[in-house]
Amino acid sequence: MTASAIPPAAILILGGLLLPFLQAQLRAAALLLLPLLTLYLIWQVPDGVALQVPFLGYELALVKGDALSRLFATVFAVMAFAGGLFALNQPRVVELSAALCYAGSAIGVAFAGDLLSLFVFWEFMAIGSTLVVWSAGPSARGAGLRYAAMHLFGGVLLMAGVVGEVAATGSLIFDRMTIDSVPRGLILAGFLVNAGALPLSAWLPDAYPESSWSGMVFLSAFTTKSAVYVLMRGFPGAELLIYVGLFMVFYGIVYAILENDMRRILAYSIVNQVGFMVTGVGIGTEMALNGAASHAFTHIIYKALLIMSAGSVLFMTGKRKCSDLGGLFRTMPVTAICGIVGALSISSFPLTSGFISKSMISEGAADQHLALVWYLLAAGSAGVFLHAGIKFPWFVFFQKDSGLRPSDPPWNMRAAMIFFSVLCIGIGVAPGTLYAMLPFKVNFIPYTAFHVVFQLQLLLFSGLAFFLMLGWLARTLTITLDLDWFYRRLGSVAAGNLDRWAGRAWHRLVQTTERRVQGAIRGVRRYHAPDGVLGRTWPTGSMAFWTTLMLAAYLILSYL
């Protein structure tokens, strides 16, 4: 068997399953080395089908490579490595084990050449990620359950779509589709559940912030970005995705502006960023798809960096709410600086990774003369700086002096943050390597005078708006209701009321039935009891009289 025939996903999945049986030091080594080995294998995957297995008369393409697959698999492996480094001191082995399986499954999705393999890895991801959420302890139980239910529902949509597609076309091949049948609509819906698109986006800010300080780092990367990958593979240029994506952009911003919990701010901001990518997929030109792919790549890195920074604060202080935090830059300089690098990258500041990726999506819109889409993306970019670029570092590290004096986290957590900070700036300064990995040839120069000046004006004046309107943005101990209200509140209230209503209705039914039966018994008794009209014994004479009368009547009638 050649190296190219080893599915890269298998290394992390098997490694994850074996992890609990290893000694602590071996476990640490496995956490760091397995992702690197996987990365090597990813780059050995040639173009085309590299591993095929027969199954129930179908040929499953377990590993099928091309530039897009390798790009996503690469960043997933890099993420698994940095996440593992950050989580080295995480004592809950279940989380680490689940995280490796989760990362491996995401890589499996990236290389799946047919719909059935895709579905299997898709469900593995759901299981792995649910275990990552749950391993945070009892406080995450409810959110984890809601998360699992939502992803199993998404899986059911996908499975139904796959079955329908196979029944209609007889083919399992996963390639570009148009939304022209119910099964394909179901496949798209299944993908969009994982992307965090409306109406099912609330699972993300509900579940991710409940995971542990290290768990959210893994969660932020794989589910939503593998969804972006399958959308790019299956539905590029589907116009619907432009509107879905733009809605996600603004939904994320508005909810993040209102949010007080720093990790929920970052969770909403994932929806916002995935919205940019989904819009790019919807535009569907080579420029826009390159933009969406590169933005997924850079986003995984800077978002993980932001969440590592927030995770470090949570790890050292045990606090998540902006209203409890502030002034931490004094004693957590590394965490603060790395957080700011992540914040600048997510805001697409020139010389950071976000700038060289997101601008390609806007350029895609401009090339297609989609004026409204272009304006909305620009307004969205301003909003990103507002809700994540300044809000997160400002309220956590500056703002007021909370009196907290935690130190920077342990070396491995600092190392992971510094590694990703270097990547954020490195990719921003020298985008050539990333551009060379993209699915299409890049004809785009990010650093033109107009791009840079426009972006600087946009961001700096967004910053001005933030500080001028700071009073309006004061943090309060509140949450903002989302569509999950329907199943978290309406559902439970309805269930409680249903119980009461059903009890009352049953009681009434029993009472009415009893009354009816009693009435019937009384009626029977009235006529048929020993002293009732029909129950009485009659004298023989009266019977003879009536018989005679009837015979007489018969006689008369027969003569007439």
């Binding site: 603004f250 911003i253 508005v254 909810y255 502006i257 209102l258 007080n260 919990d261 709410k321 002034g327 830059f329 004094r330 401009a366 004026a371 272009w374 304006y375 620009a378 307004a379 301003a382 909003g383 700086f385 507002l386 500056f398 002096d401 005078a449 107009f450 000046v453 426009f454 972006q455 600087l456 004006q457 946009l458 961001l459 700096l460 004046f461 967004s462 910053g463 001005l464 708006a465 933030f466 309107m469 309006w472 943005l473 309060t476 101990l477 509140t478 949450i479 903002t480 209701l481 989302d482 978290r488 509140r489």
Partner: protein, 79 residues
């Protein structure tokens, strides 16, 4: 103990002054830059500046309005 130099009033004032100078410069640089002028507003003077500022104000107002209806105490779901 004296507080960190970064949060002293004099520093904050200096930061504001620097910030305003940077803002003015980024707008003035607009005069030297060839605008792409893809769409009818992108060619206006200081487009990024006013568009960014206006977008943020609009987004903050939008979230305030939404918050007025949908905000609940953060213990809402714990009850």
């Amino acid at each position: 103990m004296k507080d960190h130099w970064l949060v002293r009033e004099s520093t904050i004032r200096r930061l504001w002054v620097t910030f305003v100078i940077v803002l003015v410069v980024t707008v003035l640089v607009d005069l030297l830059v060839q605008h792409d002028g893809q769409f009818w507003l992108t060619g206006t003077f200081g487009f990024g500046a006013w568009f960014g500022f206006a977008s943020c104000v609009a987004l903050i107002l939008l979230s305030k309005a939404l918050g007025a209806v949908l905000r609940r105490p953060d213990t809402y779901y714990d009850r």
